[in-house]
Amino acid sequence: MPRFLARRVATAVILLVVVTALTFFLMSLVPDPTPAILGPGATAAQLAAKRHELGLDRPVVDRYGDWLAHALRGDFGSSWFSGLPVWASITDKLPITLSLAVVATLVSAVLGIALGMAAAIRRGWLDKAVQVVASLGFAVPGIWLGLLLVIAFALRLHWFPATGYVPFAQDPWQWLRSLVLPVLSIAVGSVAAVAAQTRNAVASVLARDYVRTLRGRGLPRRRLLLRHVLRNSLPAALTIVSLQFIGLLGGAIVVEQIFALQGLGTLAASSATRSDVPVVLGVVVVGVVIVLAVNVVIDALVGWMDPRARTR
């Protein structure tokens, strides 16, 4: 297991360098951002001075080398527009997006696995109902659902806040309330995906010979399902849950806009739009680290549940 994990971490580091280098070189192709930084009243001399200050008059390879050297020491620089430290901007926004993605993933995992298992075990009308609901879940756009939820539960019933986020440390109860509608609007598709994948995996395991044998030997139903069927079905479900988590991180921007959550998605979009390179790179690093960390954890879990996976 340690060798397995070390291999995964080494791959992650190489990937991180490659992704940041690609982002840096791609961002160097966008037009000069200094007119937007200084505003339309800046003179040519002021623009040239700003370009020099930001190092934009130096070769891109040198600039990437500098950035990497600072980033390795934990210094991601400052925003070209606001002058605020990149890391501070990210740590302000990260809890919002992580709260959204983690809670939505938990909801998706619990509901999706429960529905998928129930459909595969019970079959009949429940199976059909889960499949129909899953199809609907795939089809419903999160943005549309979000707007409907706001109208119904915030504007008409006044049950939940229409916008805004309350930090967990400030008020856990209000934190949860502020997440209910955003989580519902992005979790529906994920619940559907996890339910469909779990249903197929459980159905496939239930049809295996060893399950029939265990059933024939009189193994209690609960033990059979939890110990043998679920454990052998879970790797497939966990993989889809991890993919959903990554998808939720990327797709959070739409929900962040609807519910005025100033998260990482909003920061990524605004900084990319105005070519705020240090912030874009900071967001990319954090995004890649989260994705890689999730993959490593899932790989480790799958490896723990299925020893064959460790050798792949």
């Binding site: 966008v30 037009p31 000069d32 007119p35 937007a36 200084l38 505003g39 339309p40 009243g41 800046a42 003179t43 002021q46 001075a49 700003k50 200050e53 925003s79 527009f81 606001s82 002058g83 605020l84 430290p85 501070a88 901007s89 302000d92 926004k93 919002i96 707007l147 706001v150 539960f153 915030a154 504007l155 019933l157 006044h158 049950w159 939940f160 806040p161 229409a162 916008t163 805004g164 986020y165 309350v166 930090p167 400030q170 008020d171 209000q174 949860l176 309330r177 502020s178 209910v180 806009q257 609807i258 519910f259 005025a260 959550l261 100033q262 909003t266 920061l267 605004s270 739009t273 070519s275």
Partner: protein
């Protein structure tokens, strides 16, 4: 048994939902009883708290700064200049030396006393930082301390907007002891202090009264909360669900917030216009002729565009200055009625009886529906429009680069001299071909040194000249709406105001 367990589970879910929904409390934490709280949506984050990083045109961020900092002057609702940290001022005859007398007995929240040395340190630092504030304060040559409460500011050129700029972010005074951490820790002598415990940076900013505040301007609320809501639809839902007490909406969102009991008043917003910038004919010789530019004005059916694109929420205008300001002349709005026949006649007189080809940029973010209608209308007078698509993040850079002879764009008119510097001067950003018109230069030179009454007359002359010469083809000025909860807030706006200053919000009686 199974049914009982199902019921129990359903009961637990119901209790959880009811429990979550029962606690009706605003995001951002509870406020002490008996205090008045004003909750305002902010269209963008405060960003850096360093005034050196913000220019005079950064109006969306102004509210944050008005909460914690006091400015050298105060902009009154009618745009006249009132005292702030400076109590009085005077210019010399050539208007290149400004002497400002400062308020005594003022101190920053860190205990530092405010005096002339603080003003010098702030202005010198703003200029040295070479950020947006330095550009807004570019006329300043030297700042010197005449006495403890008097500064003398030498200008490189006269700047009739300098006192106005001093009422905006570049005029905000921060404690010199906070210079090194100015971006993240605001230390001012304004009406409020930032409550770091209640603030979630980037999302919600909470300000509570500054016990040391002793300027005469009164701020009505004990606590001010700015909630960052960048999306316009989210602002409407926040207003309609009373998560905020005031805010701005456009016509489509008005019914929703009014049905929630909000009061509203219309305010002038963006001017939608064709900017005819290649007036020297560098890339399109036709545009050098005033008749051609006038023909474009006659050939665009502004009223139809206002109805179809502007949602009938706005008014026709032919000028680039805000209504209610000295330069504005309502009679000019009848100068260019829609008249394609007149447009064709003017083109023929200019030597273009068969029209000409006009290269314009287009974008799909701000005015996407405008472009096909404009090309159809101009085709009626023989002007063949060819569009070049520009991506959203490059609009300003591309439009102001001198690549296009004209472009459709929006403009927010503010103070007349700032508009002159922004639109008309040889070095103006909206004059990318640096066209130097002797009449405009002469009038601008006179305005720079004129007294207030004479200045108003000259500004009107300048505006009339620009409209007659067809430098722009303005179509309409959008109306947006300032809305507020009348049970909590009282606001009174002057005619030319596009937004309310923080001191204008008072608790409802």
């Amino acid at each position: 048994m199974r049914r009982t367990r199902g019921r129990r589970l359903a009961g637990l879910v119901a209790i959880a939902v009811l429990g979550l929904s029962a606690t009706e409390c605003s995001a951002g934490g509870a406020q002490p009883a008996g205090t008045s709280v004003l909750r305002i949506p902010a269209p963008n984050d405060a960003g850096s708290w360093d005034p050196a990083a913000h220019g005079a045109s950064d109006l969306p961020t102004l509210g944050f700064f008005q909460a914690v900092f006091a400015m050298l002057t105060t902009i009154e609702p009618d745009q006249s200049i009132g005292p702030g940290l400076a109590t009085s001022w005077s210019y010399d005859a050539p208007k290149t030396t400004l002497t400002m007398n400062l308020r005594s007995g003022v101190s920053f929240t860190d205990g530092t006393a405010f005096d002339a040395s603080v003003v010098k340190q702030n202005l010198d630092r703003d200029l040295a930082a070479k950020g947006q504030a330095a550009i807004s304060l570019a006329a300043i040559g030297q700042v010197s301390v005449a006495s403890q409460y008097q500064v003398v500011i030498k200008l490189n050129t006269p700047d009739p907007a300098l006192l106005y700029t001093f009422g905006l972010i570049p005029g905000a005074m921060i404690s010199p002891r906070s210079f090194t951490a100015a971006a993240t820790a605001p230390v001012g002598c304004g009406p409020y202090v930032l409550d770091a415990g209640q603030t979630t940076r980037g999302s919600t900013y909470v300000f509570t009264r500054n016990p040391k505040y002793n300027l005469p301007q009164k701020f009505g609320f004990d606590t001010v909360q700015y909630k960052v809501i960048t999306d316009t639809n989210a602002q409407v839902t926040a207003l309609a669900s009373h998560q905020v007490d005031t805010g701005g909406v456009t016509a489509p969102g008005l019914a929703s917030v009014k049905s929630a009991g909000m009061s509203a008043t219309g305010v002038s917003g963006l001017i939608v216009a064709m900017f005819i910038v290649d007036r020297a004919g560098t890339t399109n010789p036709a545009l050098a002729k005033p008749q051609v530019r006038q023909a474009l004005n006659y050939g665009l059916n502004a009223t139809a565009l206002l109805d179809s694109i502007g949602g009938k929420s706005g008014s026709r205008t032919t000028q680039m200055f805000a209504a209610g300001t000295p330069a504005y002349d309502a009679s000019l709005n009848s100068r260019y009625p829609y008249d394609p026949a007149k447009a064709r006649q003017l083109l023929a007189e200019a030597g273009y009886p068969h029209g000409f080809t006009l290269q314009l940029p287009s974008e799909n973010t701000y005015l996407p529906a405008l472009y096909p209608i404009v090309s159809q209308q101009l085709a009626q007078i023989g002007v063949r429009v060819k569009y070049t698509p520009v991506s959203a993040d490059q609009i300003t850079a591309q439009y102001l680069s001198g690549k296009f002879p004209a472009f459709m764009f929006t403009y927010t008119a503010t103070q007349n001299w700032l508009d002159v510097q922004s639109l008309l001067a040889r070095t103006a950003p909206f004059n990318p071909f640096h066209v130097d018109d002797p009449t405009v230069s002469q009038l601008a030179g006179q305005i720079a040194v004129a007294g207030a009454d004479q200045q108003a007359t000259l500004l009107k002359q300048l505006n009339t000249y620009i409209v007659d010469q067809g430098w722009f083809a303005p179509l309409y000025v959008n109306t947006s709406y300032l809305v507020w909860d009348p049970r909590k807030v009282s606001i009174s706006l002057a005619k030319s105001q596009e937004f309310a200053y923080l001191y204008q919000y008072q608790p409802a009686r």
